[in-house]
């Protein structure tokens, strides 16, 4: 079985899934990530692995969505926008595993004629993707636009977005941050993959972000912090974030994560931001990640 069984108990919302089951899904997602990047010898495993728990929590428990009947407009559904598009492997894996498209298609990642482009795009019509991302800093604005459309449509569902911490160096993020607070976009939960790493090194070496919580708070957001690799804490924080929507402020969740989480030799530095493992490294990684839902 390559796709976790639909969770009927909560009307498909996933609220009935146990933490253990979610962790087992996240492990399979991590296997997918490493195998995908290995197969095409390119891509970004580090950030993808670090965000595997968040994506699993989001797609298998938090989002109210209908993977089998994807529509671009997503009326009546929660929406998610990936702004740091280079962590596409984790995005594609959870989309496939949650039923947006066949898991076998993960084998086409970054290959010619694939719907799974290096960075996600609507251009190839891949179900689950509503925006092109890759050039950084643009996704928060798009998520705000989608949240405003929901408000205009009287649609009470929520919009989520994910951003890299390095991505916060882009000026457009802060234009969007200012706007969302000023316009009381309170049906939006944005999250940051706060792993402290970027391509050239540690964020603190490249361009320190300073007190990130204070910055978002000063911009008028309701800010939460959590451990993005602790499923139980993450679920608790995402539930709290949801509870804080509708109160006049956009909600920000700063998720402390470890780049490369789940594969020991990929952790502890920025080196695995954007390189692929060789055959021996693949075997080493697979040994640390048991197959839980069947490889694609």
């Amino acid at each position: 079985m390559t796709t976790p069984a639909p969770d009927k108990a909560s009307g498909g919302s996933g609220e009935g899934r146990t933490i253990d089951e979610l962790q087992r899904i996240a492990t399979q997602v991590r296997r997918d990530i490493v195998r995908m990047v290995h197969a095409c010898q390119s891509g970004h495993p580090g950030g993808s692995l670090g965000c595997a728990d968040f994506f699993t929590a989001l797609y298998f428990r938090v989002l109210r969505h209908d993977p089998a009947h994807f529509t671009m407009d997503g009326i009546g559904e929660d929406l998610f926008f990936l702004s740091n598009g280079h962590i596409s492997p984790v995005f594609y894996s959870v989309l496939a595993r949650s039923g947006y498209f066949p898991v076998q298609e993960l084998a086409t990642f970054r290959k010619l004629d694939s719907r799974l482009q290096g960075h996600p795009t609507t251009h190839e019509g891949l179900p689950g993707v509503r925006m092109a991302s890759g050039s950084l800093g643009q996704g928060l604005s798009v998520a705000i636009g989608a949240a405003l459309a929901k408000r205009l449509n009287g649609d009470d569902r929520l919009v989520y977005s994910l951003h890299g911490d390095g991505e916060l160096q882009e000026g457009q993020i802060w234009e969007a941050a200012m706007f969302a607070a000023a316009h009381r976009v309170d049906n939006l939960i944005s999250t940051v993959d706060y792993n402290g790493r970027q391509i050239d090194g540690d964020v603190d070496q490249v361009l320190p972000l300073g007190d990130l919580k204070a910055k978002w708070t000063a911009f008028g957001w309701d800010v939460l912090e959590t451990d993005g690799n602790d499923m139980a804490r993450l679920l608790g924080t995402l539930a709290e974030a949801k509870a804080r929507t509708g109160h006049g402020k956009p909600v920000m969740v700063l998720m402390h994560t470890e780049m490369g989480h789940g594969v020991d030799f990929m952790m502890g530095s920025h080196e695995w931001h954007g390189i692929a493992p060789n055959d021996a490294q693949l075997a080493q990684a697979m040994a640390q990640l048991p197959e839980t839902f069947g490889d694609y």
């Binding site: 671009m72 407009d73 997503g74 009326i75 929406l79 926008f81 795009t121 609507t122 251009h123 509503r130 925006m131 092109a132 991302s133 890759g134 050039s135 800093g137 643009q138 996704g139 928060l140 604005s141 798009v142 998520a143 705000i144 636009g145 989608a146 949240a147 405003l148 459309a149 929901k150 205009l152 449509n153 649609d155 000026g171 457009q172 234009e175 969007a176 200012m178 706007f179 000023a182 316009h183």
Partner: protein, 317 residues
């Protein structure tokens, strides 16, 4: 030849404002965004009539483009309004990724294009925007000729599925397109038939082309004037039919000679029917402060420049 009486003197941006207000009444999917230039873009009437569907984003054009892209997810038809420079060059990557590549149904409405913005000078007088936007796959590029046509085009693009760049300007300009002349995206208009030279123009220079045709007529030259209001997709059939008849072409645009209408036509002619062509365009320079009339004269975009270009084109046949 056909002559067009001057019906009024109005700015094309007011045509946009009028069209947008009309759309507000007829289509509740239409939303408008502006980056602190509501008065300059003539969007105030829409903002007042439909406050729930007007979004003031402040001086943050990149964010505006992204929000517009997001609004399409949920079925809205966003119209962004700012100066042409800030609608294109300033936000090119946002337009490229979040709108064009993502195939979002955003209408990028750009005022104060070209030299006729006048006294503000070169920082604001973008002369490269047609080229920038034309290069984006799937982007429709429209440069209407006068107030009436800008109003018509504004309304027409709401019904067109896909990203559009609509370029217009600031100065009061002759209104001459009859209000009942149908406007269709991608369909060039033969405004005055002729046999000796095809004058292909867009935007403010369509009026200059008609003026030039009158001058040429006095010299016994029968010029055909075509309003190429849609630069992309180009009405290749209309252009080829005209140059097949006349054997030479003049292109007129308030834009750098690189990348705009002239190059669009030249590419078509080189590919299908090599034909002598002369450019009336800015000769690879930035603009400067001055009145619109002074600038058009200094930069070679005035009626006598069109006349001279037509005679040069004819001589090369």
């Amino acid at each position: 030849m056909t002559t067009y009486p001057v019906l009024d003197q109005k700015d094309t941006r007011s045509g946009f404002g009028a069209g947008l207000l009309e759309l507000g009444r007829t289509d509740d999917r239409v939303v408008a965004l502006c980056a602190d230039l509501t008065g300059s873009l003539k969007m105030d009437a829409f903002a007042k009539a439909f406050p729930d569907r007007f979004i003031q984003v402040g001086i943050a054009e990149a964010n505006m483009m992204g929000i517009a892209a997001g609004l399409t997810i949920g079925g809205k038809i966003p119209f962004t309004g700012t100066f042409a420079n800030f609608s294109t060059g300033r936000v090119y990557d946002q337009v490229r990724q979040s709108i064009a590549y993502a195939g979002k149904n955003v209408k990028i409405c750009a005022s104060h294009a070209g030299l006729t913005l006048g006294e503000d000078g070169a920082t604001h007088q973008i002369l490269e925007d047609i080229g920038l936007m034309r290069m984006l796959p799937g982007m429709t590029v429209i440069v209407p000729a006068d107030h009436n046509q800008t109003r018509q085009a504004t309304i027409a693009i709401a019904d067109h599925e896909g990203p559009v760049y609509l370029r217009f300007g600031r100065p009061k300009w002759p209104v001459f397109i009859p209000a009942d002349l149908p406007f269709e995206i991608g369909k060039a208009q033969v405004l005055s038939p002729g046999t000796d030279v095809s004058i292909l123009a867009c935007g403010h220079l369509v009026w200059k082309a008609l003026q030039a045709a009158e001058e040429l007529e006095k010299q016994g030259v029968h010029a055909e004037v075509i309003n190429v209001h849609t630069i992309k997709p180009l009405d290749e059939e209309a252009v080829l039919a005209s140059v097949t008849k006349t054997g030479c072409a003049v292109t007129c645009e308030e834009h750098n000679r690189y990348g705009g209408l002239g190059d669009t036509i030249a590419q078509l002619l080189a590919r299908t029917r090599p034909t002598p062509q002369e450019y009336v365009a800015v000769n690879d320079s930035f603009g400067e402060s001055g009145t619109p009339d002074q600038l058009l004269k200094k930069y070679g975009l005035d009626t006598p420049d069109v006349v001279k270009a037509a005679l040069r084109a004819i001589a090369r046949k």
